[in-house]
């Protein structure tokens, strides 16, 4: 019997109907106030001046360049963090070694660091006054206030997403299937591609969806390293800020509606993957330490 079935069992003692309705009412009112009203208002504000203005804003060259930069940053950071996530999960789930818990904590570290500080650390290293600043200037390489800085900051803030999905999943699956494949003569790569990947594909997809959402939406860290050069180092969220601060509120919301749409697609995909694989739970976005979850 699942927990849900047990709860619905007939002998269940429950709250009186009015308490029940009151609690549902409070929960829905809270959700409406904080989530649904803001969500609707994004689209209402975006279309305030009509569809013409809306599409004109989206077709603006500065908007298009911001979209391209965001796609580039996500296109680089997501695959890199994906490779890292698989490698880390393989090492942690399939082998025993000392210091595993410390490693797990360190992997989660970027989650507990303010986005502003995440940007700051790269300024300290690659900025004009930073460790490599003078050397980079001599060689005419720009990292801070340029595209590489944006990509680095994006990699940092999305660093744990794939790893923290795969580690508990692969730990729960154990290593017997891979060991059986090896004993039966499969090579290491064959084992990985034919046994491990099919087992973790939903978890991997889940991690990628969440990683991508954060990569495309990151604001604080990218803001520190961007320099806000329109048409060059502006991502979509930074473009939203520039439009908003230049009193083009409707334009800002038009661009923001793209990100809101992305957020909604993310939630739908996330729910769909959870439905496909019930082992994946809604705690994904909420960084509860991974190491301890596995017990």
């Amino acid at each position: 019997m699942t927990a849900a079935e047990k709860i619905n069992a007939p002998h269940r003692m429950a709250e009186p109907p009015f308490i029940r309705r009151l609690l549902i009412g409070i929960a829905l009112a809270f959700m409406a106030l904080f989530l649904i009203v803001p969500l609707i208002s994004v689209f209402a504000e975006a279309l305030k001046l009509g569809f013409g203005f809306y599409f004109q804003t989206l077709r603006d060259p500065l908007t298009v360049s911001a979209i391209k930069l965001t796609l580039l940053a996500a296109g680089i950071s997501v695959p890199l963090n994906c490779i890292f996530g698989v490698a880390a999960a393989w090492a942690i789930a399939k082998f025993d070694f000392r210091g595993k818990n410390i490693l797990l904590t360190l992997i989660d570290l970027p989650f507990s660091i303010s986005p502003v500080i995440s940007g700051l650390i790269y300024v300290l290293i690659f900025g004009a006054q930073g460790w490599f600043g003078p050397w980079l200037q001599d060689h005419n390489i720009k990292i801070i206030f340029a595209v590489p800085g944006i990509i680095l900051a994006t990699i940092f803030v999305t660093f744990p997403f794939v790893a923290r999905e795969l580690i508990p999943l692969m730990q729960a699956q154990g290593r017997t299937e891979e060991e059986a494949a090896r004993v039966l003569g499969a090579s290491g790569w064959q084992t990985f591609w034919r046994v491990t990947i099919p087992n973790i594909k939903w978890g991997l997809l889940y991690g990628v969806i969440l990683c991508n959402a954060r990569a495309m939406g990151e604001f604080g860290a990218v803001s520190v390293v961007s320099g806000h050069i329109q048409g060059q180092t502006n991502t979509i969220p930074l473009h939203v800020q520039i439009l908003y601060e230049s009193n083009n509120t409707t334009g800002a919301f038009a661009v923001a509606s793209l990100l809101t749409f992305l957020a909604l697609v993310t939630l739908v995909l996330k729910t769909w993957v959870e439905h496909k694989n019930t082992a994946l739970r809604g705690t994904a976005f909420t960084p509860v330490p991974v190491g301890n979850k596995a017990g």
Binding site: L35, V37, L103, K270
Partner: protein, 283 residues
């Protein structure tokens, strides 16, 4: 565990340990650890007088007060309402439940800049919600109350998502037992269910609090960023950076990093406690 460890060491049939662990440590070092040490090394170039002058300046103290205060109250509000939302989602069925459940994660999926401009516009004196509050003399946008609203928004999913699984796993037989022994519904909740939820509730609170302390994007638009009044610590760090005061920004960052690490430690202890609690329950 110990025996398995011994066995695995002798009979390691799976390949790739050195490769994957090596890459993991290399990438972790390159992206996270080395850049993070830069903050501490940069700070060590400051004298103690310079450091304390920055981190104990009146402006910094006011920023800590607002950051900690607003984050605390936002996490507290979320603890109360998050518990109700989690309860309703696990225990009751109602129209649109799946939709509401999926929507809980919106504050994570929605980029913070979007949340920021949306809340600032909604709560502005002429905004949808703001114009209802103005006659009551309540100003939200560009005040400390606005900071609190933004931090409540971004902390919303934490409590729900930490409490929900514990509530789902809760063994209803314990409730039946309590009921058969004559406990009232309220007594059952307060004496039987609530103690089980406490570690998860505290974990969620700590996570929401930690997230709120570092938050930048959703606050920058709704706060007027006036020093001593509506400036939270990340905004103060940002304004130091904008003025190219890297040493000052870094000193403040160190303070925040130390606080984050302590919170991370607290969350880890809470998780460990929570697991032990649940294991004991099963046994």
């Amino acid at each position: 565990m110990a025996t398995r460890q011994l066995g695995a060491k002798k009979l390691r049939v799976l390949p790739g340990f050195k490769l994957t662990l090596g890459f993991t440590i290399f990438y972790l070092g390159l992206i996270v650890l080395i850049p993070l040490t830069a903050v501490f090394i940069k700070t060590s170039t400051l004298s103690w007088a310079q450091f304390s002058h920055t981190v104990f300046s009146p402006q910094a103290l006011a920023a800590y007060r607002l950051s900690f205060g607003a984050s605390f109250f936002a996490a507290l509000v979320n603890a109360v309402f998050g518990l109700i939302v989690a309860w309703v989602l696990v225990r009751y069925s109602f129209f649109g439940k799946k939709f509401v459940d999926a929507l809980v994660d919106l504050p994570f999926a929605l980029p913070t800049a979007v949340a920021g401009i949306t809340l600032a516009t909604l709560y502005a004196p002429n905004g949808w919600i703001g114009h209802l509050l103005t006659p009551l003399g309540i100003k939200v946008s560009y005040t400390q109350l606005g900071v609190f609203v933004a931090l409540t928004f971004i902390g919303l999913p934490f409590i729900v998502r930490t409490v929900q699984p514990v509530l789902e796993d809760f063994d209803p037989e314990l409730e039946d037992a309590a009921a058969s022994l004559g406990a009232s519904r309220w007594q059952i909740f307060w004496r039987v269910i609530f103690p089980t939820l406490t570690p998860a509730l505290l974990t969620g609170f700590a996570l929401a609090f930690a997230r709120a302390l570092g938050e930048y994007g959703s606050v920058v638009f709704i706060s007027s960023n006036i020093p001593m009044k509506t400036q939270i610590v990340p905004l103060l760090i940002m304004s130091e950076l904008d003025g190219f005061q890297y040493a000052r920004a870094t000193a403040l960052a160190v303070v925040m990093l130390v606080v984050s690490f302590l919170l991370l430690l607290a969350v880890n202890v809470l998780q460990w406690w929570s697991n032990r609690y649940n294991t004991n329950n099963l046994a």
